[in-house]
Symmetry: C2
Amino acid sequence: MAAAPPSPKRARTSKDQDDKTYHLLYHPTIPGRGECIRLIFEATQTPYVDVSNATKDDVYSILSKSPDQAHPPIFALPALRVSTKGSSSSPSSDDLIISQTTSIVEYLGHELGLAPGPPQSAANLHARQLALTALDLTVEAHDSHHPISVEFYYEDQAVESKQRAENFRSARLPKFLAHLEAVLAWNAVDADGRRGKGRYVVGDKLSYADLVWWQVIDGLLFAFPNELAARKPDYSHLFTKFYPGIKDDEGAVSAYIASDRRLPFGDGMFRHYPELDRESGDA
Amino acid sequence: MAAAPPSPKRARTSKDQDDKTYHLLYHPTIPGRGECIRLIFEATQTPYVDVSNATKDDVYSILSKSPDQAHPPIFALPALRVSTKGSSSSPSSDDLIISQTTSIVEYLGHELGLAPGPPQSAANLHARQLALTALDLTVEAHDSHHPISVEFYYEDQAVESKQRAENFRSARLPKFLAHLEAVLAWNAVDADGRRGKGRYVVGDKLSYADLVWWQVIDGLLFAFPNELAARKPDYSHLFTKFYPGIKDDEGAVSAYIASDRRLPFGDGMFRHYPELDRESGDA
């Protein structure tokens, strides 16, 4: 394992904050994939501009105003614009623009002290695998209410959704949760070998992989409350240490989670349709 | 943009080859996601052990023999085992084990001279976004024949597949192909500003992102030949420069593509069901 990076608090100095300004480009009003990125900023107490929520401007029109000779096209949001000239609010050809959620959170992890090691280290490659797997699960959770097409309304694919959600809950969800539990158990160690103690997926402190997984688990609890309630006992590190640890005992990010600044789930990736969840009390 | 890494040929020395042995762990007989990784090895003429195809052993039993105190659980194949003690064929606690396709190809890109810049550079973050987006497309292509569950046979979800494939071909596929074409056009430059000339997605030479996209395009040509034939004229950089460039004019990787060592498509991620493709001659 590589040497630990400086702790988030020591890593943030006023000089850092003058150097770079982070602009999150994402759809307004929903947490979605953008929330994984917000959690990184909140956990490290890094100032950022949540562009569409701050300005109510359409994010695609913001993107199309970027000087495009300097930046390749992006496929989808979220994107992150990193300005290196103070808090410059207008796009510049010197800005860095990054897209794909897992790439953004890993980039910020290295910048802000939430990566468990350098990019090519075993610890970071493990964190990256976990972040990618969490986002794969997000896609499957989304497709449980949109199995035929993202372009059709849920109501027009409700029958197929019921089939896909049934299979998602019985086969796919437990496979993913069992993986996360196995990782937490593998990394729990202690009796003074240390490491994560069930609270962290890699090493002995918070990383970008923890925050991405936490957001996904929270989304699943919103979307499938009965299913998760029934399965909780099978995943003890996950539901007695990892999930409550970040929710309640992780300083700045826990405070953010408890605040009204956090956007509620609704009609995004994670949706609660009672007919797609396990029936209440169904064992 | 960061300084260019040494060219693949100069980067490979006999010392490198003694230092590390690469073991690809993937399902036997199909190209699948493993093929993206094989293309990296072939393009750089790097020796590797394609474990399940070489031994016919079950890859999961190989994985479970790994010393698990040293390595966290992995979620799914492909995985890469990197041995640092010569060509050691039995797993060791010193080995690095990496999973998730895009993470493996990026790791190897940095190791073998197929990354367009250091991990946090704009060029590499662009390559990473492209690799991730190509794999997202792979999932959507797969789900066009498995919209309800990966656990059911195609025949048991053929009706839903027809709906999803229709939407995939009409809405999703062109969105992804238009993105790749836009990236190739953006990076084409020249009249002596240089860069990719339509052949490369990032910079002026081959990177891991090109190889991943090439494999995905080749899979789509296999799965949806009529759809792709009808759409080819819309994507001229893609189909007149990028795709044939790697197929025919990229040295070692082109030789591999033409060889009988390359595994044919069949019942993997990319499948050819004529009823899911555009009807022949249907404009």
